[in-house]
């Protein structure tokens, strides 16, 4: 088994899910509580990676990060090295790719909160920030866990985006799913089998955690 690829994948998944949580909390809060009529536009943008082929997303990300892309040029001038085919580039693309998996469970759990609790908090003189940390976040906890776990699992298993943006550089961008692909190409079925089985087990474990914590949020199954 390629331990280097596994460690890289775990590092990528941890980084991405941690950043996504920080980014998604305010975004989901805004989506859940705004009365702005045009919010469906932003909702659509956030949900795009759900329906877009990863290769399409990866293609545009590559163009943007490439030496002629806006992001790539900016990165080059700021840090003196290109962005494409680096771990950072991989993180950026993965953030986009996994965004809906973090935002949607959070929005769902925020929206299911009893609005009267927030009214009660206001009547007791509490600021919106205090209400967020004392009322909203504790009550939306299952949604937070779900967001974290789903974005972790989704990033861990991604393939198309990684291949487009990161290529296949051992130790830098060669993740487990790429490694499996490589092994199959090289007819190393035994090695592919080991890694694939490990990914299967991790995915199962992760989903068990999500549905164990809360069935209602983001579940394809009917409510018990």
């Amino acid at each position: 088994m390629n331990v280097e690829a596994l460690v890289l994948s775990l590092r990528l998944a941890c980084t991405v899910s941690a950043i996504l949580l920080v980014v998604s909390l305010p975004l989901a809060y805004w989506l859940a509580f705004t009365s702005w009529r045009g919010k469906f536009l932003l909702e659509s943008v956030v949900a795009l990676p759900l329906v877009l082929p990863p290769t399409v997303l990866g293609f545009y990300a590559l163009i943007a990060m490439g030496p002629h892309g806006a992001l790539g040029k900016l990165w080059q001038s700021l840090f003196g090295h290109p962005l494409a085919f680096t771990f950072t580039g991989l993180v950026l693309a993965s953030l986009l790719y996994s965004l809906p998996f973090a935002v949607q469970p959070l929005v769902a759990s925020f929206e299911s909160l009893d609005r009267r609790l927030l009214d009660a908090s206001s009547m007791l003189g509490a600021s919106r920030t205090r209400a967020f940390f004392r009322i909203i976040l504790p009550l939306a906890w299952p949604g937070v866990i779900t967001a974290l776990v789903l974005s972790f699992a989704h990033t861990l298993g991604e393939f198309g985006v990684v291949l487009m943006v990161g290529g296949n550089l051992a130790g830098i961008t060669r993740t487990v799913s790429i490694d499996i692909y490589d092994r199959v190409q090289a007819l190393d079925y035994k090695g592919a089998h080991q890694t694939a089985l490990l990914l299967l087990l991790i995915s199962f474990l992760v989903l068990s955690v999500v549905y164990g914590v809360n069935r209602r949020i983001w579940s394809p199954w009917p409510n018990r």
Binding site: D119, A120, S122, M123, L124, G125, A126, S127, L139
Partner: protein
């Protein structure tokens, strides 16, 4: 003194539109806001609290302006210093009783916070429930916690939206006493919303009747609710009989007029009202204000004696609800023992006896 003069238009759904238009003043002590469901009572509270925004007008507490449409002032709910107990109570389910009550005291020094907590928990008899979560409380205990949470911040105004629904009379009375006791030392206006006639009687002070978004009447419960002038109010106040009819005779000298009930030959004498001759009106009569006789009564002061037959009988606890057809269908309440003594049964010929002043003219 809370002064309110507001108007709020609600978006039309189909052909129906709803407008809240309230102009009222509330002094310290209890004021009951009474009216049928959907009359706009809760919306009025939300406007006063700052959770909903009126289109026009102003809301003032003493000299302080909470809201003024012209001056474009709208104080956020956090800054109004109002205690508000919602119908759903909205206790924070993940916090203990103590943490719920403490929630509004974040800006208060620790020593004073403890002292206020103790005082309030004791005043509402929930000092032994400190560590419990709302899910582990009974209905009455939850209501006490919600009241304690909203008064511990020492509000200048208290809004209560059916806070004691579902409690039996004794428990409700006990909690009301606690609240009264608390307000002795504070003397703030308390607006108490209900559509339950019993609660109005239990609180007993001033009542403001709201129908279709407007103040219909105000005064002491007896004048407002025992002689309602609006159909919706009569229904809400528990008038079981609402009979449509037409004014056929005015007798100003006697202070009465006669109403011919629709689809029947029977006529009722009622106190003289503002309705014109020939006008279509409704007469409201409490089922408990009608007497039943099994023989034609003589020598009575009551002016309305109508012959009819019992159509059906239904026992509800110690009460028997009789439906009597006297041309129009009347609902009459008699006690279980009276029904037994009179040997009431469907098909029996009876006479209905109604005092003139038990019949109230109501307008739609």
């Amino acid at each position: 003194m809370l002064s309110v003069r507001i108007q709020k238009q609600f978006r039309t759904v189909g052909t129906s539109s709803f407008q809240l238009q309230i102009s009222a003043e509330f002094s310290s002590g209890f004021t009951v806001l009474f009216g049928p469901s959907g009359a706009g009572k809760s919306t009025l509270l939300d406007c006063i609290a700052g959770l909903a925004k009126p289109d026009e007008g102003w809301i003032k507490l003493g000299q302080e302006i909470f809201f003024d449409a012209e001056k474009q002032i709208s104080l956020p709910p956090q800054k109004r210093g109002i205690g508000y107990v919602f119908q759903s109570l909205a206790l924070f389910p993940h916090l203990s009783v103590e943490e719920n009550v403490e929630y509004g005291l974040s800006g208060v020094a620790a020593s004073e916070r403890l002292e206020r907590m103790d005082r309030t928990l004791t005043a509402f008899h929930i000092q032994d429930l400190r560590r419990r979560k709302p899910g582990e409380l009974s209905g009455g205990e939850k209501q006490r916690v919600a009241l304690a949470r909203s008064v511990v911040t020492e509000p200048r105004l208290l809004l209560l939206d059916e806070p004691l629904t579902g409690l039996d009379g004794g428990l409700r009375q006990a909690i009301l006493e606690d609240l009264r006791g608390w307000n002795v030392g504070h003397r703030i206006p308390i607006l108490y919303v209900t559509h339950n006639r019993e609660e109005v009687d239990a609180i007993g002070d001033h009542v403001v009747a709201i129908v279709d978004g407007h103040v219909r009447e105000s005064g002491i419960p007896r004048t407002v609710l025992d002689a309602p002038r609006a159909v919706a109010l009569a229904q809400a106040a528990g008038f079981e009989n609402l009979l449509p009819g037409c004014v056929v005779e005015h007798r100003p000298a006697d202070g009465v007029m006669r109403i011919a009930l629709d689809s029947s030959k029977c006529e009722l004498e009622i106190p003289l009202g503002s309705a014109q001759l020939g006008e279509t009106v409704q007469v409201a009569i409490r089922a408990g204000d009608i007497l039943l006789a099994t023989q034609a009564p003589h020598g009575l002061s009551a002016r309305n004696v109508l012959p009819g037959t019992v159509e059906s009988l239904e026992t509800r606890g110690s009460l028997v609800v009789a439906r009597v057809n006297a041309g129009a269908l009347f609902t009459v309440h008699v006690t279980l023992s009276a029904a037994r003594t009179l040997q009431l049964s469907p098909g029996l010929a009876v006479w209905l006896v109604l005092k003139t002043h038990s019949c109230h003219l109501v307008s739609p």
